[in-house]
Amino acid sequence: MQRQPYATGEMSRRSFLRNTAIVSSAVAAMAAALAPLRELDEFPSLEEFLQKHYKELTPEEMDRILKRIADEVEKEYGRRPEIKDYKPLNGVQFVYCLNLTRCVGCRKCVHACVAENNQSRSPEIQYIRVLEMPNGTFDVEQSEHTYQPPAVPREQRYYMPVQCHQCRKPPCVKACPVEATWQEEDGITVVDYDWCIGCRYCEAACPYWARRFNWAKPRIPKDKLNLNMSYLGNRPRKKGVMEKCHFCIQRTRAGRYPACLEVCPTGSRKFGNILDPESEVSYILRNRRVFVLKEEVGTMPRFYYYFDV
């Protein structure tokens, strides 16, 4: 049965009251639905909201941003960091080599990375994942990630740590719709944490499962904060953005070894500039049996696994 529309615009008083009651109860329910916003503790300031992409920032803008970040970190953690924007060094192309003969699977690299790069402890983010592989296969489906025997290495196993390979043809860079991740001249694929929209397409695209997302607000123990920070590297991230290994950009662009290499007890990790013919990595690539993971995907990683003999 069709009702006639209110052509004349008249209504009875009862229906007016009823309509008002409906509308106001609906509006009240909607306002109450927004109640969780009471707990919102972090909302971007206007300046942060309008912040431009890293590649478009002038040096003055970068200085202002660095100062703002230092202020925020000081407010949150009670200690003031030293934060810089490290630029790539000239004539450098980083390469990482990992000696599978020597890696014993102790996972110290994982935790050193966490400490150096201010990763969230809860929810836990770890850039490096050590795979315990059975001898005789490269099939990662047979790997064990959560091994915890009393001692490593275990019999008939070898250990393969995987982190971002800073591929020369990075699928994550192709995927990002806003160019929040890109590869710099020295080979490090970086993320602009203030530009990322958190769509996680890059995480789906990565063949090495190297990218991590901040599913909640990151929690770092205040006393463990690493105060030597860089804009593109280990400054504390916010919830809702991606992050990943960046070869300890705050160390390597200052000429130092990354944290994972420093802590490795067996010296399995080698890092350096492939354009330098005298570097360890150049020697390894010339003289050792070297391979990359998932070569058929065509990513051309900068991360090489090799054997000693």
């Binding site: 409906i22 102790c106 490593v152 000429g255 070894y257 067996t266 080698k270």
Partner: protein, 277 residues
């Protein structure tokens, strides 16, 4: 019921439902969001950049406690200390050098002080220590088949705090690396290139120095096989309670928990050195 009445009923019901929803939202009845648990502290040894041992050379270089290296406190200078051999000509390790018998460890490294009374060693007819069960792999072992089971392969019998190569070249303790080199040439070649062993500091030698670790910083000369280490805690999943990743054909060992297991397995030697600067 006329259409008008039905409409009134429906609209009234809607008002009540909205009011109820208001209550539900304000009281958060659809379920409070669980915040992630507080982070557990990472054990300090998991981020310790120190080497697995401190070599004699390092102790000397850093003016450390060299009391264990003063041989002539017990031995007589000038007098050659003969080796005790058993019936088959194998060297019998003496109790005074029990750190050689049990790798680099003394009993109390693993055992509790309260157990000390039961830590008596037993000897066989030759005077050789009878190894307690489970300690078989800790014995002095430099090379397979007991190749270097003779102290004077490396130590100078006439001057015990000096090292000597098979060719007779002598080195002080502070230059122990060159003794290693006398047999392990290819490894030394790799070490010089930075391929073998640890490096720390600056990859860019123009911006700073790199520090190399000598052989004995990682390899106990009397038991050079690299010690097994306790693995640092395994990764956790975002949503706990998930089934664990498949472990090939083997499941995780029982007893292997987040603490790294018990100390009962003597093959677990952990790196507990002071932190490196």
């Amino acid at each position: 019921m006329t259409a008008e009445t039905k409409e009134s009923v429906v609209l009234t019901a809607m008002i009540l439902v909205f009011v109820a929803l208001y209550g539900v939202f304000v009281e958060d009845l659809t379920g409070r969001v669980r915040t992630p648990p507080p982070p557990e502290p990472t054990p300090a040894w998991a981020t310790n950049t120190g080497t697995v041992r401190i070599s004699a050379a390092e102790v000397i270089a850093t003016d450390g406690d060299t009391s264990m290296m003063e041989c002539y406190v017990c031995h007589t200078e000038g007098e050659r200390q003969p080796l005790k051999l058993d019936s088959e000509g194998r060297v019998i390790l003496v109790v005074e050098h029990s750190d050689l018998i049990f790798g680099k460890k003394r009993c109390l490294t693993c055992h509790d002080e309260s157990e000390e009374a039961s830590l008596e060693l037993e000897y066989d007819d030759d005077g050789r220590v009878i190894l307690p069960k489970g300690h078989e792999d800790l014995v002095l072992r430099h090379g397979e088949y007991g190749r270097n089971n003779n102290c004077y392969n490396c130590h100078n019998p006439d001057k015990l705090d000096e090292l000597v190569t098979r060719q007779g070249k002598k080195y002080p303790l502070s230059e122990s690396t060159m003794l290693c080199v006398s047999c392990h040439g290819p490894t030394y070649r790799d070490w010089l290139r930075g391929l073998h062993g640890r490096t720390s500091g600056y990859w860019n030698r123009e911006m700073g120095e790199a520090r190399r670790e000598p052989c004995a910083a990682c390899h106990d000369p009397h038991h050079p096989e690299f010690p097994h280490l306790r693995p640092a805690p395994a990764p956790r999943r975002l949503h706990g309670g998930q089934p664990q990743a498949f472990a090939g054909a083997h499941r995780r060992e029982a007893g292997g928990d987040g603490d790294g297991g018990s100390d009962e397995n003597h093959s677990a030697q952990t790196a507990e050195e002071p932190e490196e600067g």
